[in-house]
């Protein structure tokens, strides 16, 4: 596809189901969205909401005998669902790359970090040993590692968590991907290091003209770093829209509950937090209705019997899945009382 096509990624009715001993487990169901070039979209949700499985499915990593993937993931003209290992391998690195959650375990502990960056350069781009080394050192410098030539020979164990995450980013960027999937890239890192990594990702996105899918459970991370947000619950998109709109004019009660239950630095001490009663549902025992209905204070009979589909809100691109949406307000400030 030409670079003039403004849409890089189109996900259509994507569903990932695991065959488990307890029956089919729909980890991701009916997810559709698209992503423009040079856009950052945030995916938020609690653990078990399917965020990670969604990104792994987009990457094409969820293909084993006990997994069924249906729907379509069209990445720059290439279909990822059902693609052969060889086809996908040709796309990994240059079209799409992924930063995994845990910087401690996603590197090989007994291989020098430089060699781990070289690997993709030599295999995918066919670079010579010397060229690959020079490029790897450049990449280490790009991601802000001090004395990169020296760090090239370090083992992951000799680096701190923040430094290791930078190495993981350098590996992901090695073949200049068009789409970067960042799965909780800063979870487990300290706030000051988190700010450094998020600034780095922002900066690299602009410089390298990438699109980024930023998966996180931390609403603070997506608030200022994304242009659009997807809110997931029990494997489905329950609300999608521009970041500003989702934060200030959300219609889905779950989105509000998620926003209100997170503590704020501006709160006074001993502020009572708004809680969501109950727990996320067991995906093996999903009912016909809205999966949030059992925890929702606005739920009616219809919510328990019939699943709401995404329907457009006022602002173009903003959609929510709810039978009893919150009233329209232009300015909804999140408050904890």
């Amino acid at each position: 596809m030409s670079d003039f096509d403004p849409i890089l990624l189109t996900v259509n009715d994507l569903a990932t189901t695991f065959q488990t001993a307890g029956g089919p487990l729909p980890a991701v169901g009916g997810v559709s969205f698209d992503l423009k070039r040079n856009e950052t979209i945030g995916v938020v949700g609690e653990s078990g909401s399917g965020k990670t499985v969604l990104t792994r499915t987009i990457m094409g990593l969820q293909q084993r005998t006990n997994v069924t993937v249906t729907g379509s993931v069209l990445l720059d003209g290439h279909e990822m669902v059902g693609a052969s290992e060889g086809d996908k391998r040709a796309l990994w690195g240059s079209e799409v790359a992924m930063i995994f959650q845990d910087p401690m375990t996603s590197l090989n502990p007994v291989m020098r970090v430089g060699k781990q960056i070289d690997e993709s350069l030599r295999v995918r781009l066919g670079m010579s040993k010397a060229d690959a080394k020079a490029r790897a050192i450049e990449l280490l410098e790009l991601v802000g590692i001090p004395s990169p030539a020296h760090r090239y020979d370090a083992y992951p164990g000799q680096l701190s968590g923040g430094m290791r995450q930078r190495v993981v980013i350098a590996i992901a960027l090695a073949c200049s991907p068009k789409l970067l999937l960042a799965d909780e890239p800063t979870t487990g890192l300290d706030v000051t290091i988190q700010a450094q990594i998020l600034n780095l990702l922002d900066d690299l996105k602009e410089r390298l003209h990438m699109s980024v899918i930023l998966v996180t459970h931390d609403l603070g991370v997506v608030a200022t770093r994304t242009s659009r947000i997807i809110v997931m619950y029990a494997g489905r998109i329950v609300e999608i829209g521009s970041t500003r709109e989702v934060f200030s004019a959300h219609r889905m009660p779950y989105t509000r509950a998620l926003l209100e239950s997170s503590p704020k630095v501006s709160n006074d001490p001993h502020t009572r937090l708004v809680t969501i009663p109950g727990r996320p549902p067991n995906l093996l025992k999903l009912t016909q209705g809205c999966s949030f209905a059992p925890r929702c204070s606005y739920a009616t009979d219809r919510c328990h019997q019939e699943r709401p589909e995404l329907q457009p809100a006022d602002e173009p691109g903003h959609a929510y899945a709810c039978w009893n949406p919150l009233p329209k307000t232009r300015k909804r400030t999140v408050k904890t009382t």
């Binding site: 000051t192 290091i193 609403l219 608030a223 934060f247 997170s262």
Partner: protein, 332 residues
């Protein structure tokens, strides 16, 4: 709250770990008080010694030197039975709710264990106490009492840990990152529960966490640690609004508010904390501090009061009314 005598008085607490031929001072001399009925938040980045401080108060790790006085009794000087006795008055809740409970034990036995150890309550009274505790934390003892710990989710395990820690009716509860492994909706439930129980049982809390928003929500006062030392301590609102230590300011600047209109802070702290094996001379923060001068390298700043109850360990504290001249930047 600020009654004359603090419940817990910590003076010059130091904890060192041997590492081969080296020695790491994880806690390098901290002093603070916790007053009865208050919640003191302890924040800092990983490796700053906040968890070690919490554990040293319980003597789970042995302090190298210093004193920890609970109601006037020095815990560090106690041994054997006397130590065990006094330790019942302080309890600890740990970070990972699932691994801190034995997966193969029934939860009513887990909650009853402190009672069984001390044989303080036996027979049917024991079962009543256990049931009451489980009800208090929101778990139905009739339905769940006989289930095993492994059958519960993280949030429920944390509730069970809280019930267990309350069994001995402690005065002081040390919460070490107790909500950091939980999702926001569950985290809010646990934090509200903790506030309720604090009131009901008249607890005093030391709340150790790295999440500044969580700490602000529960704490009356907050202490900020960096590389084994306290760099600032003060009332929560004051400390968050007018931080005195540059490190506190940067830490707060890096904390992200869930609001798209909040400004992205341009001034991000560069670099990483230095190794505690070889801490910088003078002020420990000087290697990352944009305001550091030669004085910071030569002379260690001590905690000194900038406002009533608000102390800062910095030669050039921020937000202080008194006019001052900022010395030129150090070259080293």
């Amino acid at each position: 709250m600020n009654s004359a005598e603090p419940l817990l008085k910590i003076r010059d607490l130091k904890v060192s770990f041997g590492m081969g031929h080296h020695e790491v001072q994880a806690v390098a001399g901290v002093s603070f008080d916790i007053f009865e009925g208050e919640t003191l938040g302890l924040v800092g980045e990983s490796g700053c010694g906040k968890s070690t401080t919490g554990k040293a108060l319980m003597r789970i790790v042995e302090p190298t030197s210093g004193t920890v006085e609970l109601d006037g009794v020095d815990l560090c000087a106690q041994k054997g039975k006397a130590l065990r006795n006094i330790r019942t008055r302080m309890q600890m809740i740990f970070q990972d709710p699932i691994s801190s409970l034995n997966p193969r034990r029934r939860i009513k036995d887990i909650v009853a264990e402190p009672l069984d150890c001390w044989k303080s309550v036996t027979g049917s009274a024991r079962d009543t106490v256990v049931s009451d505790l489980l009800v208090k934390v929101g778990i139905d003892p009739q339905v769940y009492g006989n289930r095993y710990a492994r059958q519960f989710s993280g949030g429920q395990c944390q509730r069970i840990s809280i019930a267990r820690s309350l069994a001995m009716r402690p005065k002081l509860l040390i919460c070490d990152e107790m909500v950091s492994a939980l999702d926001v909706s569950v985290q809010a439930q646990i934090l509200n529960l903790l506030e309720d129980l604090k009131k009901e049982y008249g607890l005093t809390l030391l709340f150790i966490a790295h999440d500044l928003a969580v700490v602000k929500n529960v704490s009356d006062r907050v202490a900020v640690m960096y590389l084994g030392k306290i760099c600032e301590i003060g009332p929560s609102n004051t400390l968050y609004e007018v931080p005195g230590h540059p490190y506190t300011k940067f830490l707060l600047g890096a904390a992200l508010e869930a609001d798209p209109d909040s400004p992205v802070h341009g001034d991000v702290l560069t670099g990483e904390p230095p190794s505690p094996m070889n801490p910088p001379s003078g002020c420990r923060f000087r290697t990352r501090c944009p305001f550091a001068t030669q004085k910071c390298a030569d002379e260690e700043p001590l905690l000194s009061e900038v406002a009533p109850g608000h102390s800062v360990a910095c030669h050039y504290p921020l937000n202080v009314k008194t006019p001052r001249k900022r010395a030129p930047r150090a070259t080293a």
